[in-house]
């Protein structure tokens, strides 16, 4: 191993995660807060180019390879680990924290990886860590969801591995760089990456699994898997046209399914797919503006989506696990800070001016406009309005306002409030002062989000979307329903088919009593007849008889030899 570093930044969180179960009390809390900060400091020591290598078989792995893009993703992953850890300080299941930190460290590993083998190894570590986080929900539903989640991600991992092996076979190189979907190998890699973005047809893994984690687990889950997938798409497949249409599908899929959903955390999970769709479109457009847009959007999205899920997690924590909109409402009266945090997150996800979403997502819209993709731009504009509809208003409205549920829980403990305040401040600060974020983007930019025209346009779009919400409120009355998705194929059709096949086989066998009672018995009788103690094939015979017959055969052979 050669290195300019003592240790890769990702290792700090991964190995630190192993320490968490062996320390207790304030020492564990201190470790939870210190590990991400040390990691963050280490990330900012990473210069451009390959910084750390290791030998694996005949390959030299590039464990740390710095660039603006990789540092920005690694930075937000470390910040997320810190805020998530702060929020989860009173989480009693230490295995969840350990898994979440290993998961975060692996995501940082992907962001800093310079070769495709290292990407794959960290990719699979992420799958293990995130499955453990889902499983840590410790309910029967969480256990089943974790199993389905693991199966989808292991399938994705196999597809990716096939692609990686074929790619190395084809090119002889393990460099992880712009490859484009132009061969079997690169298509397999692209599909493997897309599965983690929540792209169709396997989008359902995300709203199936994430809401089943604990009140703190979902906060971690929202950040890493989908955003590392965006990162690898930006590195490996920027400008791949098909991504534009996959992204557009994801955008509207997220909106439509969230509009039909009753569970507040499933609403926010569908919303993740919707937001990642914008980033996938940005990767597909592939211009400098689009890549800057997707990158900055990933950065801000991690913050405001975590904030929204912290607000939802606080509601769960203080109401004893309630998460259905039909059970909630009126909570603003007793949870003012949680409500304000939820509203700030909702405004940021809606790209409201003076919030972080406005200065980031606008760049992707601008990229579509600049490249004169009219249909794509119209879709993005419609989707921007739709985001306000399904997440910007629907989530806070049904959880904190609407009909009064009579519930009066207090705001959560100090650490959860501190995490929400931290991310609320970041949402507004990045919205008001985008300069520091823009300075870190992969390409230099002089993009100016705060022109009068842009602010007025966005205000019109969003406020009229708000009008549509309240005018159509009777149509959005919540019911105790779910909406079927492609996961119906493996959750219902496959299970029912397997049960049906088992019953059919059972009936078939049951209907063949004759086979069992007659034919099988006849075979047994026949065998028994010849193999019973007195049967011809089983009875014992004196050695002399055998010798007699051997002599007979030899004489017969001699006679034939002499006379025939």
């Amino acid at each position: 191993m050669t290195s300019d570093f003592l240790i890769s930044p990702s290792f700090i969180l991964i190995f630190g995660a192993l320490l968490l179960p062996v320390v207790r009390g304030w020492a564990r809390s201190a470790l939870v807060l210190a590990l991400p900060l040390i990691t963050l400091a280490a990330i900012w020591q990473v210069g451009d180019g390959v910084q750390m290598t290791a030998q694996f078989l005949d390959y030299e792995l590039e464990l740390v390879d710095g660039s603006n893009l990789s540092r920005l993703f690694a930075t937000i992953f470390a910040i997320m680990a810190f805020a998530g850890g702060l929020f989860a300080l009173n989480q009693k299941r230490v295995i969840e924290l350990s898994a979440a930190f290993a998961y975060a460290g692996s995501a940082i590993g992907v962001a800093l990886a310079g070769d495709i083998i290292t990407v794959f190894m960290y990719w699979e570590l992420m799958a293990i860590g995130s499955t453990m986080v889902v499983w840590s929900g410790r309910t029967p539903e969480a256990g089943r969801a974790a199993m389905r989640y693991a199966l989808v991600h292991l399938f994705g991992g196999v597809v990716l591995l096939v692609g990686v092996i074929a790619y190395i076979q084809d090119t002889g190189s393990i460099d992880f760089t712009l490859m484009g979907a132009n061969s079997f190998a690169t298509w397999m890699i692209l599909i493997g990456f897309l599965i983690n973005t929540g792209a169709p047809p396997l989008s359902a893994w995300l709203p199936d699994a994430y809401p089943e984690a604990s009140w703190s687990g979902t906060v971690f889950l929202s950040a890493f898997t989908t955003k590392t997938a965006v990162y690898v798409l930006l590195v490996g497949f920027a400008g791949e046209q098909i991504l534009i249409w996959i992204g557009v599908y994801m955008i509207f899929y997220g909106i439509v399914y969230a509009l039909l959903e009753n569970d507040m955390r499933r609403i926010l999970s569908y919303s993740i797919i919707n937001q990642v769709g914008f980033m996938v479109v940005g990767a597909g457009i592939g211009t400098e503006m689009a890549i800057n847009g997707a990158t900055s959007h990933a950065f801000t999205h991690i913050i405001y989506k975590a904030l929204l899920l912290m607000s939802a997690g606080s509601v769960m924590y203080m109401t004893g696990g309630k998460r259905k909109c039909t059970d909630l409402g009126g909570l603003f009266q007793s949870m003012p800070l949680t409500t304000i945090a939820g509203i700030i997150g909702a405004l940021a996800i809606s790209s409201f001016p003076w919030t972080s979403g406005f200065v980031s997502k606008s760049m992707t819209n601008q990229a579509a406009y600049d490249t004169e993709m009219m249909v794509v731009w119209l879709c993005l504009m419609a989707a921007s309005a739709g985001v306000f509809l399904h997440a910007g208003i629907k989530f806070p409205w049904f959880v904190f306002f609407q009909k009064d549920s009579g519930l009066r829980p207090k705001d959560p403990p100090w650490n959860m409030k501190a995490a929400m305040v931290l991310f609320s401040v970041l949402c507004i600060w990045l919205g008001v002062q985008p300069g520091p974020l823009y300075a870190l983007l992969p390409f230099p930019t002089d993009y100016e989000p705060y022109t009068s025209a842009h602010v007025y346009e966005m205000l019109q779009l969003l406020l009229y979307a708000g009008l549509a919400f309240f005018v159509l409120l009777p149509l959005m009355k919540r019911k105790l329903t779910i909406t079927l998705d492609f996961d119906w194929l493996y959750r219902k059709l496959a299970v029912d088919s397997a049960a049906s096949i088992a019953v059919t086989i059972s009936k078939l066998l049951g209907g063949c009593v004759w086979v069992r009672d007659n034919l099988v018995n006849a075979v047994i009788d026949l065998a028994s007849h010849h193999h019973n103690p007195k049967g011809i094939l089983a009875r014992t015979t004196p050695a002399g008889v055998m010798m007699f017959w051997v002599v007979v055969v030899l004489f017969a052979y001699l006679a034939m030899y002499l006379f025939v």
Binding site: V256, G330, L463, L472, T481, I482
Partner: protein
């Protein structure tokens, strides 16, 4: 006189579901004022949109009040589409528990 005072006296406070005085934000008058304020705000931002020179790469975005009607119309379309999809795909939330 005393009876008249009783009739004209302050109204009983509106109560919420728990029998407590209703929060000022959810009283009927507040909701009416919020609607009025919201409509005024909508009119204001639509007017603001006419005060700036619009971009016109595609043409449609330069039409009068484009962002207003487009935001409203597309949201109505998405809600209706979702309802139609829900007719076929919505199931009880215990569907997979059976």
């Amino acid at each position: 006189m005393s009876e008249e005072k009783k009739i004209k006296g302050p109204k009983a406070p509106l109560l919420d579901i728990n029998g407590e005085p209703m929060h000022w934000l959810v009283r009927p008058l507040s909701i009416k004022l919020l609607w009025l304020g919201g409509i005024a705000l909508l009119a204001f931002v639509t007017w603001l949109g006419t005060t700036v020179h619009p971009h016109a790469t595609f043409g449609i975005e330069a039409t009068l009040g484009f962002y207003s009607w487009y935001g409203f119309a597309t949201c109505v379309g998405m809600v209706i589409f979702a309802k139609l999809l829900g007719l076929g795909l919505s199931k009880k939330d215990t569907y997979y528990d059976k």
